[in-house]
């Protein structure tokens, strides 16, 4: 039977936004409840501090813009990782290896900058290529050995992490007593990304071209996915692999290419972040979480390249909000907890969306009941 639900189908975008906002609001409410448990007296004050964030400087435009700039720069890696995951996801691939590709990006950008003293442009380029290679490796296993990209991705994450630990832990890159990489600004000034509108952002020295590049990447992804034959192929493969094969699309090539591009974006994320010199790499015992947060951000952003930017800014805004908490009453990690809850709820974005999107949901449930009732298990769902 043909049930037309045009009224609903016409506004899937609205629903996606609604679902994402719902997640965010629920996350904040649950965060507030946790604050209430920790310190009921100052919970409201704490919540306001997190939400108000750098706007508490609203009286001083200079400082306000400075902190806004910092938030923008710090959002860059998580947004780009989310874009990488989104891109692969559209082609039906779950690139959990983005974390590893990001790690390889850190390794290459820092090594080329600190050990080899390259100019920032070549550092970024090298990191992008290395990320692409790491992604392509994952794609190669998937295409030719039929290894699930999640398994290969997780394996490559750890290999990437230990490579990074081993290579960066020499004296040319790392202050071994602090086990932290040197400041690029001090060691190799040509390796620092050029600034971008630093004057507007209260002379924030970290405000770099990373921000416009991120926006550019999101727009390019949007265009590639929706307007090009390559995007058409990728999405067709993502929606229905068999139909893509029937149409003569080269599945193996597309898998490798998609993961390579996804890896390149992850590598770019790492290089843009670390080459602002805002962050140093420390010997780590676990894979950087950026690639994993990216998964949540991509979903919170409704799997839309521009929505992902908004979601990334929001997540980073709340994370940084933790710094404004009064440490006498609260541990600043409460903000991380809230983000964790929001991220957890992100898993429900598609769930909320499917509720809103499917007026037939009820009948499907009923259908299931029917099968149980007549004592059968569905051999084939229609």
């Amino acid at each position: 039977m043909d049930k037309k639900n045009t009224a609903f189908l016409k506004r899937p975008g609205v629903q996606t936004i609604l679902a994402s906002v719902l997640c965010a609001v629920l996350g904040i409410i649950m965060g507030y409840i946790i604050l209430l448990f920790m310190n009921p007296e100052h919970a409201t004050e704490g919540m306001v501090a997190i939400l108000k964030n750098f706007f508490k400087f609203s009286g001083k435009p200079q400082q306000l813009m400075y902190y806004l700039g910092s938030t923008l720069v710090k959002s860059v890696p998580v947004i780009l990782c989310a874009e990488a995951i989104l891109f692969a996801y559209k082609a039906g691939l779950f690139n959990i290896g983005a974390a590893g590709q990001y790690t390889i990006g850190i390794l290459v950008s820092l090594y080329t900058s600190l050990a080899l003293g390259w100019n920032w442009f070549f550092c970024v380029l090298a990191a992008v290529l290395a990320g692409a290679l790491w992604g392509a490796l994952c794609g190669f296993f998937k295409a030719f050995c039929n290894v699930n990209e999640v398994i290969a991705g997780i394996m490559l994450n750890w290999i990437g992490l230990y490579l990074c630990n081993i290579i960066l832990s020499n004296e040319t890159c790392m202050n071994t007593t602090k086990s932290e990489t040197y400041d690029i600004a001090a060691k190799n000034p040509s390796g620092v990304l050029p600034g971008f509108l630093q004057g507007v952002f209260g002379n924030n020295q970290y405000m770099s071209i990373a921000v416009p590049i991120t926006i550019l990447v999101a727009i390019i992804i949007l265009v590639v996915l929706n307007m090009t034959t390559f995007g058409y192929e990728l999405k067709a493969t993502g929606h229905n692999k068999e139909a893509a094969k029937y149409a003569g699309m080269n599945a193996k090539r597309n898998i490798i290419l998609t993961l390579a591009i996804s890896g390149a974006i992850s590598g770019l994320a790492a290089s843009l972040y670390y080459l602002t010199s805002i962050e140093h790499f420390k010997i780590a015992s676990s894979v950087p979480g950026m690639g994993f947060s990216g998964i949540a951000v991509a979903f919170l952003g409704g799997l839309h390249p521009i929505g992902t930017i908004v979601a990334g800014l929001f997540v980073e805004y709340i994370t940084l909000g933790g710094q404004y908490l009064n440490t006498n009453y609260f541990n600043p990690q409460v903000a991380d907890l809230m983000i964790a809850i929001i991220i957890y709820l992100c898993g429900f974005v598609l769930f909320f969306k499917s509720i809103l999107n499917k007026p037939r949901k009820k009948s499907l449930d009923a259908n299931k009941n029917n099968k149980v009732a007549s004592g059968v298990t569905a051999k084939k769902e229609v």
Binding site: D2, K245, Y246, N250, S374, V376
Partner: protein
């Protein structure tokens, strides 16, 4: 006519209705699926429910089964009004349904499947002995031959269906709904099912029989209710009606059953298949073994056979979806055995796939995007890697108009929301419009109603007359007999015979299809 062996001994008291669905109206956003429909089922009758795809048959049955609540109308059981809110209520009222796709657990035995959900137990332990006895009694009483210990995956489709029927009987259901039960059966199995249904009716069970096959209605049904586009058209006594009357009531106009076609004028050889073998994915043997034949310009060659005899695997290998393990395929004199799907697509092979959802369409793409599925990269539709959206739209609009593909929102309709018939038409439109010398059509009319079937058959004949070579694979014997110029019968992966549709009979075809007869063909 099959009328002769009809059980005319049965008669019904007037107004002895077991189930009455009165003035049922069910709306969905934007569409009235059932508009004031009345269906009255007498005790012990076989009542056919006839209608095109999307006429509202399934919705009506879903209302009866408690899956939907109607906006208007009431349901009466034995003259008393009942409220069926969910399938459990329906089961309690003794309503059972055999679904088109069987709901069986493959790795369970027949007995386990029958008792599943209604297992007899004592202190939490199964007491199968009673169940076996009941099942065997039922199976003897209604002549439903099954082996209770066999696994579902090992038995034939016909037997699986008998298991489904036993499942309903085991639950003491008196009102049995058969949803297109013959779609998957061989002619012999269909005959048997017809006997079983008559038996059941004779024992006092009431049967609702959903179908679009008119022959079957003429053979077994007592009365027939016809729906068209959600509206009630009428209920007729089958004995005093005719196929022509039923079909014109269903479609709203007269329908031709025989395909009008001139004798074929075969030209040059287009496709030549030599000793093709395909390895099975499940067992050691070949699923396709030493298949050789040819197809020429301007003829329709049909591969007939019971489902699962290697047709799917052969077509997969021919079109490139699967690998050929040995043998040779030539296309217009060129060896294309190991060419890619893209190569075959762009060098004149069109393919209407067997499974439109798995292969034929990207369901979450819009209609226009599906229309260019194999052509998006051609200069006509792309420019420096960008898709020409305007051309795509115009192309899609032209095809949908030419092939009368109906959709809610035109070119931008998401294909998933279209009806099966229109999805199929969209594929046919796409494949026929592409430049091609060979059309491979696998079950092109599967699940379609007579109106749409007539249309697709006409199009295929038109293609043939325009000089296209056509390789048809069909499980429908009517289609095979009507449409083809030559018939090849496939049995267990081999071509066991070639017959001329003008001189053969359904019985002869049936013998070939069941492996009882085979020619010693010379290898081509």
């Amino acid at each position: 006519m099959p009328m002769a062996n009809k059980d005319l001994g049965r008669c019904f008291r007037m107004d002895d209705y077991v189930i009455e669905m009165l003035h049922i109206t069910k709306e969905f956003p934007g569409i009235i699926a059932n508009d004031d429909i009345t269906l009255q089922l007498k005790r012990g009758e076989i009542h056919a429910l006839l209608g095109e795809n999307g006429a509202g048959k399934s919705t009506l049955m879903s209302v009866l089964f408690g899956l939907y609540t109607p906006e208007k109308g009431i349901i009466k059981k034995d003259g008393k009004e009942v409220h069926i809110k969910n399938p459990n209520d329906a089961t309690e009222l003794g309503i059972g349904m055999v679904h088109q796709h069987f709901m069986l657990v493959d790795i369970f035995s027949v007995l386990d499947n029958i008792i599943l959900g209604a297992e007899p137990s004592k202190f939490g332990f199964l007491t199968k002995a009673d169940a076996i006895k009941k099942v065997l009694d039922l199976s003897n009483k209604y002549n439903l031959k099954v082996d209770p210990d066999a696994l579902i995956e090992d038995i034939t489709v016909g037997m699986q269906q008998r298991v489904e029927i036993l499942k309903m009987l085991y639950r003491d259901n008196n009102i049995l709904i058969f949803d297109e039960p013959t779609a998957v059966l061989t002619p012999q199995e269909i005959d048997e099912l017809m006997k079983i249904m008559k038996n059941l009716a004779a024992e006092g069970k009431s049967i609702l029989f959903i179908t679009h096959k008119l022959n079957e209605i003429m053979e077994v049904a007592d009365r027939c209710t016809i729906l068209r586009r959600g509206k009630y058209i009428g209920t007729v006594d089958v004995a005093t009606s005719s196929k022509e009357e039923l079909s014109s009531m269903m479609v709203g106009r007269d329908v031709k059953f025989a395909v009008d076609k001139a004798p074929a004028k075969p030209g040059k050889e287009v496709l030549k298949v030599e000793n093709v073998c395909v390895k099975s994915k499940i067992h050691q043997n070949d699923s396709v073994h030493n298949v050789s034949f040819n197809v020429r310009e301007g003829e329709i060659v049909c591969i007939a056979g019971i489902d699962g005899n290697g047709q799917t695997e052969f077509i997969g290998a021919l079109t490139g979806l699967d690998d050929i393990s040995s043998g040779k395929v030539s296309f217009c004199g060129e060896d294309i055995t190991h060419k890619s799907i893209r190569y075959k697509n762009t060098h004149g092979m069109s393919h209407v796939p067997e499974d439109r959802h798995k292969h034929g369409l990207v369901l979450d793409y819009s209609l226009e995007e599906n229309m260019i599925l194999q052509r998006y990269f051609e200069p006509e539709f792309s420019n420096h890697g960008f898709i020409k959206k305007k051309t795509m739209r115009e192309y899609s609009d032209r095809l949908t108009k030419a092939f009368d593909v109906r959709s809610g929102e035109g070119a931008t309709t998401i294909v998933r929301s279209m009806s099966g018939g229109n999805q199929q038409k969209a594929i046919i439109a796409r494949e026929m419009d592409r430049e091609h010398k060979l059309l491979v059509a696998v079950q092109p009319t599967r699940g379609l109603d007579v109106g749409a079937i007539e249309y697709i058959h006409e199009e295929i004949v038109k293609q043939r007359d325009a000089g296209c070579a056509i390789l048809l694979v069909s499980l429908e014997l009517d289609e095979v007999m009507n449409l083809s110029d030559r018939i090849l019968v496939m049995y267990e992966g081999e071509i066991v015979g070639e017959v001329d549709p003008k001189t053969t009979t359904l019985q002869e075809l049936g013998l070939y299809m069941s492996g009882a007869k085979r020619d010693n063909r010379k290898e081509a």
